[in-house]
């Protein structure tokens, strides 16, 4: 891609940069990383009106060229041509929020002063109009000395104009301009930005602001908190309620694929490999795609509407009490999807101790990879009935309620862990909470769909690579050596994997785990959801002929083989479960060494063991 002209999108956070990026590039995006740092590089392609391809890179949002976080550092370095792995952009598109010109123009002036060919996208003009603000882009262009184009990225307005303008700009600037790193003083820039903003305002009528009206409820100390809890509750109920039909469909496909292979191939190793290893193993994980997408749908919506920052605002009081910044709430909420982006998102926390604590507790947030594990166990052991709320005909699903409790346990565990960590290993002054609250916005459906698509691809890639590989290795370890035909020993017990698991089980038996769980826990280190495929493979291989004919689901098989306390202990283990390899790797990268990832593995193992043990023995004593 290196031959293409490179254009960088720069701007303040909440200027609608990503919406503009999506509107220009559509689905032609490539996510990667800048070398040496864990800042995500978001690049894509689009064509000018004459068909010329352009590479567009969406730089992290920042308020000035004076970085306070690694993300902002990357933005600065790319623009100055100092970032490793990125060439100097041929032109900049500076995105400014039309209704926040005073602030955004200051940064725009700073960028224009660098001397690179620059176009200003006056974005979200529709929202400015909604707020009673009318602007003149011509005056703005004259004052700034660069082209200014009004855009509404979410409605694709102004994009053609932007393309045409970029075209003539690239033609006119064939030679390279080296940006000068000179700094103008902040106060001077601020005053000039203010003056220009004033001159460009044609009309300014105070009008009822939608955002202010919504915030009266959403940020209310009690009503807001109730709303937040209600939203989270609906989210977890939806994960179950909306996913039933698509899951049944995928399960049907997996079963018929297995049947088709079983019917065409003769009984033997290859058939066992394909049916028990590949189709049953990988299939059992793919089944959870609908639930993961529903979870991501909610998280993407909360982010895109601007509600996420409000949630952080509401939670800051609580976060402060355990010694964290309210900012930590956003990485922690993203960790519900996956701890890896969650840990990467901690880079916005400037205080190092705050940040380290947030990284260490991020894996306690129930990530989507744990969802398959929870779902299969809950599906098998918790009856699918509704519990009356005590008033009226309204009831809530018991399964969803248990899932909600598991998520809550993770959160409470994380808060307690933070409290202890902040008083011991990460002692220090509490950091702050300083955030801009964006206007509420109805997200463009295409942006949400694109986000979901990217998540689905990542999940299926994982299923196709990590999960496939570990399932295949496990199948091999389980299938060899072959147990003697009439020796009275089951294949699993006789196999290499079974022998390892039997050894491990000495440690895990006291907390109610059986051999099969021990067996599943090892490959689950690669990715948590592998626990499910591993169990599917074990029980599929172990099933005798009669059982196999019944084509019973993994859930039904588990129900037969595990007592309830074991199932509950297994759930408790996974609340605190030692994290997957990707999490350990990203922690090592973000903390620059092995000390903290090792500490994290250690403390999570201890917590998981204690929680599972406690659950098992409590349940046993209670006679469950």
């Amino acid at each position: 891609m290196t031959g293409l002209p490179l254009i960088a999108l720069v701007g303040n956070p909440n200027a609608g940069k990503s919406a503009l990026f999506n509107a220009l590039t559509g689905a032609r995006q490539k996510l990667g990383n800048y070398p040496g740092v864990t800042v995500e590089r978001k690049a894509g392609r689009f064509s000018l009106s004459d068909g010329r391809p352009i590479e567009l890179v969406d730089l992290p949002g920042t308020y000035s060229l004076n970085p306070t976080s690694p993300d902002e550092q990357v933005t600065r370095d790319v623009i100055l041509g100092k970032q490793a792995g990125e060439r100097l952009p041929d032109a900049l598109v500076v995105v400014v929020d039309a209704s926040n010109l005073d602030n955004h123009l200051r940064f725009a002036l700073e960028l224009i002063a660098l001397g690179l060919p620059t176009i200003v996208a006056l974005n979200m003009v529709d929202l400015a109009t909604r707020d009673g603000l009318e602007l003149d882009a011509h005056i703005l262009s004259r004052e700034l000395g660069v082209p200014v184009i009004s855009t509404v990225a979410v409605r694709k307005r102004g994009l053609d104009h932007l393309r045409t303008e970029l075209e003539s700009m690239l033609d006119a600037n064939a030679g390279r301009v080296r940006p000068s790193g000179e700094h103008r003083d902040f106060e001077g820039l601020r005053q000039e930005a203010r003056r220009i903003a004033r001159s460009a305002i044609v009309r300014e009528t105070p009008s009822r602001r939608l955002t202010a009206a919504v915030d009266r409820v959403a940020l209310h100390p009690t009503a807001g908190l109730i709303l937040l809890l209600a939203l989270l509750f609906v989210m977890f109920q939806a994960v179950y309620a909306w996913s039933e039909a698509p899951i049944a469909m995928i399960e049907g496909l997996v079963t018929s694929a297995g049947d088709a292979v079983a019917a065409t191939l003769p009984d033997g190793l290859l058939r066992s490999f394909l049916v028990d290893g590949v189709i049953n193993g990988v299939g059992s994980v793919i089944t959870f795609l609908p639930q993961i997408l529903i979870l991501f749908f909610f998280i993407l919506m909360l982010e895109a509407t601007g509600y996420m920052v409000r949630a952080a605002f509401l939670m800051d009081g609580l976060m402060a009490r355990v010694g964290l910044s309210g900012r930590a709430f956003i990485p922690l909420l993203s960790s519900f999807a996956c701890a890896v982006p969650g840990i990467m998102a901690t880079r916005t926390i400037s205080d190092p101790k705050d940040r380290l604590t947030t990284i260490l507790i991020a894996p306690l947030m129930t990530c989507s990879a744990r969802l398959p594990v929870y779902a299969v166990i809950i599906g098998a052991f918790i009856p699918a009935r509704t519990v009356a709320l005590g008033f009226g005909p309204l009831g809530i699903g018991l399964q969803g309620l248990v899932l909600f409790c598991l998520y809550i346990s993770g959160i409470v565990g994380a808060m307690l862990a933070a409290l202890v960590l902040r008083r011991t290993v990460t002692k220090g002054a509490s950091g702050g909470f300083l955030m801009e609250m964006p206007k509420y916005q109805w997200p463009r459906p295409q942006d949400i769909i694109l986000g979901l698509w990217q998540r689905a691809v990542i999940f299926l890639k994982r299923a196709g690579t990590i999960i496939f590989t570990s399932t295949v290795i496990l199948w091999m370890l389980l299938s060899f050596p072959k147990a003697p035909e009439h020796g009275g020993v089951s294949q699993v017990n006789y196999s290499v994997a079974g022998r390892i698991a039997n050894g491990l089980n000495v440690v895990l038996e006291p907390i109610g785990f059986n051999r099969d769980i021990s067996l599943a826990l090892i490959p689950a280190m690669a990715a948590r959801e592998v626990a499910v495929s591993a169990l599917a493979t074990v029980y599929s291989l172990d099933a005798d002929e009669d059982e196999a004919k019944l084509e019973r689901s993994l859930g039904d098989r588990l129900k037969d083989k595990w007592p309830l306390p074991t199932a509950l202990a297994f759930l408790a283990w996974f609340v605190f479960a030692p994290q997957c390899i990707s999490t350990i790797a990203v922690t090592r990268r973000e903390t620059n060494g092995w000390k903290w990832p090792l500490f994290m593995i250690g403390y999570l193992f201890v917590l998981a063991y204690a929680a599972a043990g406690l659950t098992y023995w409590t349940a046993t004593v209670a006679g469950l």
Binding site: Y63, S64, N66, T68, S99, N100, L101, D102, N103, R106, D131, F186, R190, Q191, R194, R195, R198, T211, A212, D215, L219, H220, P221, T222, L225, V309, A312, F313, L314, D316, G317, L318, A320, G326, S350, G432, F433, L434, M435, E436, M437
Partner: protein
């Protein structure tokens, strides 16, 4: 009056900011949010169940959230905007 004491939804102006009470990076961020002597400010919400949470306030056309220790470093005054810096005149 400190920003922490400013009644909700009462328009006011920033009189003085005690930059020394803020860390360098927090000070920079506040400046970038447009907080400076003379800026218009309006407290919108106090967060937290017991009122110990952060404060959401409008600064110019922007809404920002800050903790009480930051808000305590900002002195505000209500009433007509006079004696302010030239660039703040409309």
């Amino acid at each position: 009056m400190r920003l922490t004491d400013l009644p909700l939804r009462q328009p006011a102006y920033v009189d003085l900011i005690d930059w020394n009470a803020l860390s360098a990076s927090d000070g920079q961020r506040l400046r970038e949010f447009g907080l400076c002597e003379g800026a218009s400010v309006e407290a919108l919400h106090h967060g937290g169940l017991l009122g110990r949470g952060p404060i959401a306030c409008k600064v110019g056309r922007m809404t920002i959230a800050m903790r009480r220790n930051h808000a305590a470093a900002i002195t505000v005054r209500t009433g007509p905007q006079d004696g302010l810096r030239a660039d703040d005149e409309a």
